[in-house]
Symmetry: C2
Subunit: 338 residues, 2 copies
Amino acid sequence: MRIIVDAMGGDHAPKEVILGSIQAARELDAEIILTGKKEIIEAQLKKEEYPADKVHVINADEIITNEDIPTRAIKVKKDSSMVVGLKMLKRKEGDAFVSAGNTGALLTGSLLLVGRIKGVDRPALTPLLPTEKGCALLIDAGANTNCRPENLLQFGIMGSTYMKNVVGIKNPRVGLVNVGSEEGKGNDVIKAAFSLLKDAPISFIGNIEAREIPAGAVDVIVCDGFVGNVILKLMEGMGLMFYSNVKEIFTKNIFTYLAALMVKSGLKNFNKKMDYTEYGGAPLLGIDGVVIKVHGSSKAKSFYYAIKQAKKFVETGVIDEIRSYVCRTGGDCVESNG
Amino acid sequence: MRIIVDAMGGDHAPKEVILGSIQAARELDAEIILTGKKEIIEAQLKKEEYPADKVHVINADEIITNEDIPTRAIKVKKDSSMVVGLKMLKRKEGDAFVSAGNTGALLTGSLLLVGRIKGVDRPALTPLLPTEKGCALLIDAGANTNCRPENLLQFGIMGSTYMKNVVGIKNPRVGLVNVGSEEGKGNDVIKAAFSLLKDAPISFIGNIEAREIPAGAVDVIVCDGFVGNVILKLMEGMGLMFYSNVKEIFTKNIFTYLAALMVKSGLKNFNKKMDYTEYGGAPLLGIDGVVIKVHGSSKAKSFYYAIKQAKKFVETGVIDEIRSYVCRTGGDCVESNG
């Protein structure tokens, strides 16, 4: 098992990426291939103890930044850590690719350089969200701002397959985000998607209202990328607001500090519940290769978990299972069946 | 000033509706007209002290429930508290209508029985959301699940006019919900709406990501009703989750109870910040009459504030101002100008 890691992607690259990769090389049965500026990576590696036989470096002189325009960056920066890594994945010189770089570029690059699973119309960006009951997969979180009902059907199938195999949930409950829970609610696209999902070989529980998401009413949250992006970012914003308010409450005076000590374990548990680092990054479901997007602000621990997640993603054969599901549910699979 | 109140709408009708109405009659310079089953309303009134010259009852024998199908209910239940109230508003037998009943029926009824402001294509349901800096108007929260760019333009104009006049914000900052803050992001409808809003006579600050909403980055949040519904309900769901977790943290043992006492004022302040009862209900902007939707679970206090809000809505002439704005920005106003 060889996991390719974009050493130059993310706010804390390359240091935190490399630290997480070293931990993965040490603890997991996998080799790590770091792509990026060789001398910078090696200088960082020299500062650490690491299993040299399990950590490799492939040089790439350019870096795609968050300011780069995705399509252009992928075409022009051919010697970037991201493009080099994705091309290696395509040539099967690695089993998975993990990157905290420019999200748009990673999506475009995966689509152009690695390609879609045959039959999948639109790959999706699918982060895991914390809920009262654990976590739920949000599909799509922003790759597709316009969706047809067939796309939403495939999102349900891909999300369900991922949650079953990689997160280990037996019969993932799939819900369609809508403005009401009754059948017949929503716009035309949503109504048509409801019909398709109802007949799909998954545990579709019907429409869900966004109110039910934090409580963990479903394991897979199906919506178009516009709505998904709003959900993802609103949860982030609400979390930040609550965090800053709780902090303010407890840092007022000596008594409030004392109170903080008294509820320390409770606050810690709650924090842990809301922290989804351990679930890794956001897989790009529908790409014909394992690609994981790590949050740009991630530290070493997140990269470690993302690599662990990538490994399980590969081992459980999610991509082949998606391919076969999608073909059975109307995907255009002529080429792959031929 | 006469405010018509649907005495039979909401989970706690008629008691809480009547209590809130009595408070309004007492404290505000306005008369209240309660619509609903006369004997039930009068039996409740008899239990209270109230200014009899300022509280009137108009009989309506039917009730539209939350289970009723909106369009059908409005057509069939002609003697319901809601239909009777809306017809009175249309005939100018009252200056505003306040109801906590079936949201869909109130929207449909307002549209069919009261009508749109000339030039307004789509009226919207526009609740006020709590933010770090006070509150922000969400337009639309669910009346229109499909929107054209022109609808979003009108939402910006109507929301801005309301916030300026009724909430008293000098230059309301208007933001368009999008998947990124840069111009050029989003789907075709959003891109076109951006161009229209940029040229409108309002303080349009551009695209906003949902992350910025809780922090209070804008005063008017423009989006289609599908996205707005997701925002409204996700905020509710996140709020409930945080509330139940905080409760759990503080109710574990004697020490955590003690801690709760120590941070009591901080928790209270935070609770107050999150409570938007005082802002009243959600106006139906674009209807050619003042209609306020109160949350179904509301108690007396909310009805009181909604009546107060309706009064200000009438006094500040928001509807006339919207009419004139909309005509100047491309609305089809031939009839009203003729």
